[in-house]
Structures are given as structure tokens and as C-alpha cells.
């Protein structure tokens, strides 16, 4: 039987979301958030929203991750919780 791709994707999305807020290193959290955005983008493409998919990829996964990394570089990488 074919793998229900969207269910697998959604499990990955939840794992990424939980991981990005649990990890103590802020740079890793920003990277995992970028991975979360890319998984979201693939799910939009699977659901037929191709325009939303490439907007999310370029804007949220691309520029959003750049903004996060820039902010973490200018502040601090450590986080207490």
C-alpha cells in the first residue's frame, strides 16, 4: 500500500516543532525552525497549494531563517530554558 505521505510529514512537523522549542542552543533552534518551515512547504505542495508552498519556502524558510540566524549571531547562543 502506498505510504500516506501527509501523515508521515505531519509527524515530522510535530517532532520538529517540539524539538525547536526544547533545544537549549538558540542557533540549533533556528535551524530546526527552518527545517520545520521546509516540511510545511512540502506539505502545502502535497495538498495542492503550490503558490503558498514556494512563498513559504522563499519567505519563511529562507528569509525567516536568515533573520533568526542574524539575530542569534548578534545576541547570544545560550538559553537558560
Amino acid at each position: 500500500m502506498t505510504v500516506p505521505i501527509d501523515l508521515v510529514l505531519q509527524i515530522f512537523i510535530i517532532v520538529c516543532a517540539v524539538a525547536s522549542i526544547v533545544v537549549k542552543d538558540l542557533l540549533s533552534a533556528a535551524m530546526i525552525l527552518g527545517a520545520y518551515s521546509f516540511f510545511m512547504c512540502i506539505m502545502w505542495a502535497q495538498m495542492g497549494a503550490v503558490d503558498v508552498a514556494f512563498t513559504e519556502a522563499s519567505v519563511s524558510a529562507g528569509i525567516g531563517t536568515i533573520l533568526f540566524v542574524a539575530a542569534v549571531m548578534k545576541t547570544t547562543r545560550r538559553s537558560k530554558d
Binding site: A17, L26, L33, E56, F68
Partner: protein, 127 residues
């Protein structure tokens, strides 16, 4: 009951994601983690809108190939997915990244002043 969960799992996932983001915004004391939570919260809402537009059972994208040839032809709505929420979500994604930019700029400002990104320590300094 069980088919309620299985048939509409998209909506369950969106609620779980929204609550994860909400939890991060409220409970985490690091400011950047709060912003990450805000991002997850807003993308969950986008997931909600897109899943309302999707139709199972072989629905395709609304691309009309032979409209010019045959003129006005009725389109069977069951075969195409609804494109309006996609357009609304383009706006929502842009708003999300704009809010992200403003919030991160303010976080850099806060760090320069207080030298910490932990909300409890900032409140202690402000008292």
C-alpha cells in the same frame, strides 16, 4: 468516534501545533524561544486554512487549459480545489515574516541594553 479522528487528522494536527506554539509563547522565558513559538502558532493557522481548501478524491489544481478554445464552460467544482484560502494565506505568510522581523529587531535592542535574553532576569533588572 474513531473515524472523527482518522478522517479529519489535519485539524487535529493543526490544534496540536497551535497549542505547542501557544505553550512556547507563554511558558518559555527566553525571548527568542517565544518568537519561535509565535512562528509555530502562525504556521499552524496557515495549515488550517490550506486544509479547508483541499478536497480528497483526486481533486486537481484549478488550472483551466481549454477555456480559450471552448469559451464559457462550466467547471465541475468537485474536481478542483478551492484557490481562495491560498491567496489569503499568501498575505498571512507575509504578515508573519514582517512580525518576525520587527520582533527580532526589538530582541537585538533588548540584548544591547540588558545583556541577557531571559525574561526573568530582565524583569529583575527593571525593578
Amino acid at each position: 468516534m474513531i473515524e472523527l479522528v482518522i478522517a479529519k487528522y489535519n485539524y487535529w494536527i493543526y490544534v496540536i501545533l497551535m497549542m505547542i506554539g501557544f505553550y512556547a509563547m507563554i511558558v518559555k522565558t527566553n525571548l527568542v524561544k517565544k518568537i519561535i513559538g509565535m512562528n509555530i502558532f502562525q504556521t499552524a493557522i496557515i495549515l488550517f486554512y490550506i486544509s479547508t481548501a483541499y478536497k480528497m478524491g483526486g481533486a486537481t489544481l484549478p488550472i483551466m487549459t481549454d477555456a480559450q478554445a471552448h469559451g464559457h464552460e462550466a467547471v465541475l467544482v468537485d474536481g478542483v480545489i478551492n484557490p481562495l484560502p491560498h491567496v489569503l494565506m499568501l498575505t498571512a505568510i507575509v504578515v508573519m515574516v514582517a512580525t518576525l522581523g520587527v520582533a527580532l529587531a526589538i530582541v537585538i535592542h533588548i540584548y544591547r541594553r540588558y545583556n541577557t535574553l531571559n525574561e526573568d532576569e530582565i524583569l529583575k533588572v527593571m525593578k
